[in-house]
Structure formats: C-alpha cells, structure tokens
C-alpha cells in the first residue's frame, strides 16, 4: 500500500513553546510550515511552567544581562557553553517585549512596567546582592506563552497535524534530513512528511523515572529519533531532581513545607536529616536532602509496604498554620491521597524534574555531531530546541526561569536559521526508497512481536530501575547494575506483543512506541552517568564526590550504535565578553 505523502518547506516536531516559537518565525516569513504534535498543541508540557522567564530588565532591582550570564554560567557548574549563554542573556529583554506584543499578559508593577520576582541563583554584580529577574504572568507563565504562540501560528497559517505521532527521521545517504515518518493516531496510518528542513522540539524525558514531575507525554520521542538516526545525545547524566515529590506520583511538595517547620522521618520515626546535615537538617541543599532520602530507603529504613519512601510530617504545625500558609500542599495531599496533612504525614521521594542533556546543537539551533571535520559538524537540514536539545545553556544544572527563556530564544534563533537554510535549499531533495523503508520497519516490527512480556509492565520496571540505579544515589556499582538491567529490558521489549493490533485510535500502539523511546533514552542516561566519574551540578557520584575540572570539564556524547561514549570540549569563549573561568561554586 502507498503511504500518504505531504510536502512542506519546514517540519516542526512538537508544539510546546520552542516548536511554536520557531514555527511562528518561519510562518511569518511565508515558509510553509507543518507542526506535528501527539497531543493538541495547547496541551504541551510548557503549560506546566509556572514561575516565569528570566530577563535582565532591571524593573524591580538593578540588573544587567552580563550579571545574568555570570549566574547562568556559575549555575551550570561551568559546563554551559558560554557563547550560547551570552547569546541567550543578551536576547532575553527583547524577547520578553516581543512576547508581550504577541499577547502574553505579564504581571505588572504599579508603574506599568513588567513585574519581576527574585528566584534562587540570581545575583547583582557577579555574585553580589539578590537580583529580581524573573518575569511572570501570574502563576501560569508557560500557559500564557503557549497560548499566545499558538494564536500567532494560527494567524500566520501554520499547518497543524494534531494527534500525530512522529516515528522516525528520514535521511538520505549524504546525511540530509528530509522530514519524518509520522502516524495519525486516529487512524493508525503512517504519513510521510517531506520537508526541506526539520526541527525537533519534543521536550524532556522525565518519564524515564518512576517519580517525576513531568506530564505523561514527556517520553523523549525526539531524543530517541535522533539516537536512531545516528546522532548522539549530550550530557544526559544531568537530570534535575527535587527532594520531595509525592512518592510514586511525582508532584512537587515545595520547599516551603520544610521552611515552615515540616520535617522528614524514616520508618522508625527518626528525624534522619539530623545525621546527614546536623546544622541545616531538613533545610540542607536539595542534593543533600535528596541523597539522604535515597540512602535511608536503600538501607532498609523506608516507609510503606514496599519500604520505598520517607514521610514528611507537618501535623505538629497545627491546622491554622497549614491552612493559612500551605494550602496548595494540602490540596495535593487531599486530592491524590485523600489524606489531610493536618493529621497524616505525606509520603515523599526525590522527583525528576528537568533534563539538562539532549540533542547537541549550536546557538543557531543546528544539530551538531562529531564528524571528520570536527566535533560540531551541522547535520544538514536538522535543528533542535528546548528541553530535548542541549545547546548548552544549562550545563550541569538549570536555574529557575531559564527554561522558558531557553525555548523562546532558541526557538526564534532556529526559525531564523531555518529561513536562511531554505534560501539556499529551494527544492526538496529526492526521497530514497530505503529511507522510507528504514522508518517503516519500526512500525512494522511491532505488528509481528510475540512472547510473554507486557509493554506496561516493562515500562514500570524500567522507571523503577532508573529511580533506583540512576536517581540521586549514584556509584560505579549501582550505575553498572542499572546499565545491565536497562539492557535486559531493551531485549525483553522485543518479546512484548501489542495487546491490540487494530488501527483506529489504538492508544496501545502509541504507548508501545513511547516505551521504546523511553528505553533508548534511559540507556543513554545511565551509560552517561556511569561514564562521568566526578560530581558536577545535578550529577552527584558518591564515589567521586568532587568536581574534577582537569579530567571532566567536557561534554559527554552517547551514541546508540555500539553504546559508545565520546566527549567534546565545553565552549568556554563567549561571543564578545571575557570568559568566566571555573571557580568553586558557593552560594
């Protein structure tokens, strides 16, 4: 049977803020743009970003893009690329204003200027007094940005393929990316989308961990497509965890709970943080609290029938304090556990929040991979932005307020570069039959699987292994066991048949494809974590507790083919200003 074909100038895979900002740029330049999204665009995970977007506007306290740059480099634990960070921080103010003009209702001061709030890691004058740099739109900045960008795209006549699942990139023998094979979820039919240039903007991959804050759509589809196309993933060992998520479900329980006097206990009722951080106790830094919880569970002092979480106690604070100061937390506990924290402690475990690593790109959003000519050779026609990409502005650790900035700045930059690419590449390149066949094989392989394994059970097993063997407690032994276990799951997935082979709205098929993607990206993550023998930013190794700039001030690259690790230098040279050399990171 012939597969349906559609042709566009540009294909954008993913309809979060990064994808839509790029699509807007392209469509306004009168390129024909297709946006493929597996859910309705305004249901992308960008809606969950509450805090705001950083820009050194200086509306509340003095500020300067150069200070923002310093904070971002320091926050990244010096693994961020300083040219990309300079570019982002310089562009920030202009892009906030652009978004305002696109319809984002930023919160305001009485003077009419955009309000800015202070977040952790923000300083004036290179590490001095607190800065106030984050521009919010009430407590739903991501939602406001996503809706504004969607409207702008409708106006510019972007073509949306809603509820289409991207399967694989289509490439020719010269390495050009010619579009993607996608599947209409409603009919189960594959569709070829040919494009002169393609952008991956599919978001992060928090779903590789059992306890995570991400929407269920965050399964790393674009990252896995890149891996299968022979493109490595960069710095995948860096995953931001928050110490207290609701165990097994993932929603954040804010630090405010411990700030108000809440504390953690193990199954013996012991306030164990006193042993790990005698002074700061429950208010020790995030990584210390996260690791203490994981150690307590590993050493058999976990609560609950499976012994897999700690308890966060607030009942001693009294009903009035809880109702007045922690109403949001009480809502979460009441809704998801039908327990009232006024009487009953909350089960918690560290929750995965943000993926710093991803598809390697330069500051134009071009996907770059090592080739004969150097470590950062562009893949012709292919771009990536946002959480699925690694540009790398977050390095080993992302600062609050920088992720919305990242998607808008680099979405726009990628859109602009794609417009230039289209000027130089005016015609579609011929689509080789083998390219189509390669991509179709993936879908076809699921039709013929047989065996006793279950896709859903393997997903649960995978996320549990990642939590235990690649979470906040990392040693050589634990990680090696993780690699072995994930590889075994990869093999077993070949013996997991689709429980339903019908075509129309077969969510089982889409979920199986997602699990396949999760396995590929999980393996990239655990292999990269095993390789990096130091502690830096969010990657904390119990057996290598120090940052090692001599050996490890470099980006890691994991390739699926041969499960190979490779490395490349960090770009320490900014565009115009002096570099910030690595220093010990003290706050």
């Amino acid at each position: 049977m012939n597969t349906a074909r559609r042709r566009f100038d540009a294909l954008v895979i993913g309809a979060g803020g990064g994808g839509l900002r790029a699509a807007q740029q392209l469509a306004q330049a009168e390129a024909e743009v297709a946006v493929v999204s597996k859910v309705f665009p305004t249901r992308s995970h960008t809606v969950a970003a509450q805090g705001g977007m950083n820009a050194a506007l200086g509306n509340v306290l003095p500020d300067n893009w150069h200070w923002h740059m310093y904070d971002t480099v320091k926050g990244s634990d010096y693994l961020g690329d300083q040219d990309a960070i300079e570019y982002m921080c310089r562009a920030a103010a202009r892009l906030v204003i652009e978004l305002e003009h696109a319809g984002v209702p930023f919160s305001r001061l009485d003077s009419g200027k955009i309000y800015q709030r202070a977040f952790g890691g923000q300083s004036q004058d290179f590490g001095g007094a607190q800065a106030a740099r984050t521009c919010p739109a009430a407590d739903r900045t991501g939602h406001a940005i996503l809706h504004a960008l969607y409207q702008q795209n409708l106006r510019a006549k972007t073509h949306f393929f809603d509820e289409y699942f991207a399967l694989d990139l289509l490439t020719d023998d010269d390495g050009y990316v010619l579009g993607a094979l996608v599947m209409d979820i409603a009919t189960g039919e594959p569709v070829v989308i040919e494009a002169k240039t393609t952008l991956i903007a599919t978001g992060g991959v928090g779903q590789i961990f059992r306890t995570n804050t991400n929407a269920m759509i965050n399964t790393g589809d674009g990252m896995a497509m890149a891996l299968r196309a022979g493109i490595p993933l960069q710095d995948m060992e860096f995953v931001q965890f928050h110490p207290t998520g609701i165990a097994g479900k993932g929603m954040l329980i804010s630090e405010a709970v411990r700030g108000e006097g809440g504390y953690l206990v193990n199954k013996d009722g012991e306030r164990f943080m006193e042993r790990y951080a005698p002074n700061a106790k429950d208010l020790a830094s995030r990584d210390v609290v996260s690791r203490a919880i994981a150690v307590e569970v590993r050493e058999g002092r976990g609560c609950g029938p499976a012994g897999n979480h700690m308890l966060l106690k607030v009942d001693h604070l009294g009903a009035d304090v809880i109702k007045k100061r922690l109403p949001g937390i009480r809502d979460i506990a009441l809704t998801f556990m039908h327990v009232d924290p006024i009487e009953t402690p909350i089960p918690v475990y560290p929750t995965a929040h943000y993926t710093m690593g991803g598809i390697p790109t330069n500051r134009y959003g071009q996907v770059v991979t090592p080739a004969r000519t150097g470590p950062e050779e562009p893949v012709p026609g292919l771009y990536a932005v946002g959480e699925c990409a690694c540009v790398s502005v977050h390095g080993a650790n992302r600062l609050g307020g920088n992720s919305l900035l990242d998607i808008v700045v680099f979405g726009r930059a990628a859109g602009n570069h794609m417009i230039d690419f289209l000027k130089d590449h005016r015609y579609h390149r011929p689509m080789p039959q083998e390219a189509l066949e390669r991509a179709q094989q993936r879908l076809a392989s699921w039709e013929n699987r047989s065996g006793d394994e279950s896709v859903a059970a393997l997903r649960l097993e995978l996320t549990t292994v990642m939590e235990q063997n690649c979470g906040v407690f990392r040693t050589e032994e634990v990680l090696q066991e993780g690699v072995d276990k994930v590889m075994a799951i990869e093999e077993r997935l070949l013996h997991a048949p689709l429980r339903d082979r019908s075509r129309v709205f077969n969510t089982a098929r889409a979920e199986a494809l997602e699990v396949e993607n999760l396995v590929d990206v999980a393996l990239a993550t655990v292999c990269s974590a095993l390789a990096r023998r130091e502690s830096r930013g969010a990657h904390s190794r119990v057996d290598y507790p120090k940052r090692d700039d001599v050996e490890w001030l470099k980006h890691s690259l994991y390739s699926k083919q041969g499960r190979r690790m490779d490395f490349k230098p960090v770009r320490m040279k900014p565009m115009t200003v002096d570099p910030f050399p690595p220093k010990e990171r003290v706050y």
């Binding site: 804050t213 269920m216 759509i217 809502d331 809704t335 998801f336």
Partner: protein, 85 residues
C-alpha cells in the same frame, strides 16, 4: 491476541493526555476506575470537560474552584472521588 476495545473510549483516553502531570493522573485514574459506571449523559459531560484548557481543569480537579455548569461539576466530583489509590 486482541482484546475487545471501544474506539470511542480510546479516543477519550488519548484526550486525557495533558500538559500537566496532576491533570494526567486524575483523568487517567478516572477513566480506568470510574468512567464505565457513568450514564450516557455523564459520559458526554466528561467528554465536554476534556475540551477545557489545563489551567482551568487543574483548578477544578484540585478542588480550588468549581465549574458553574452543574453537569461538569458532578463529573469533577466523580473524578475527585476516584482519585485516591
């Protein structure tokens, strides 16, 4: 082996995929645990509910606000009742 399935239910299942984890979990749990006991009018109210944006749904489902439309309010109550596991 193919299990019997209802394409309409599967369509709803995909519409329950949202941008926020909280909404994801509550809707999915309900689809598995409570949806089948709704009558036809309530099922149709559930489908209408899914048309609302995530930031509205999260306020309703977390019990911080209540829909003014009683049909929707009733479905929201059912979802909240089914939410603990």
């Amino acid at each position: 082996m193919t299990e019997p399935r209802d394409p309409q239910l599967e369509r709803l299942r995909w519409q329950c995929r949202r941008g926020m984890l909280e909404v994801d979990l509550l809707l999915k749990r309900f689809l598995d645990a409570g949806f089948s006991s709704l009558d036809q009018a309530q099922k149709s109210a559930f489908a209408d509910l899914l048309e609302y944006p995530d930031h509205v749904l999260v306020e309703w489902l977390m019990g911080r606000q209540r829909p003014s439309d009683e049909r929707l309010a009733h479905v929201v109550d059912c979802i909240r009742d089914a939410s603990a596991s």
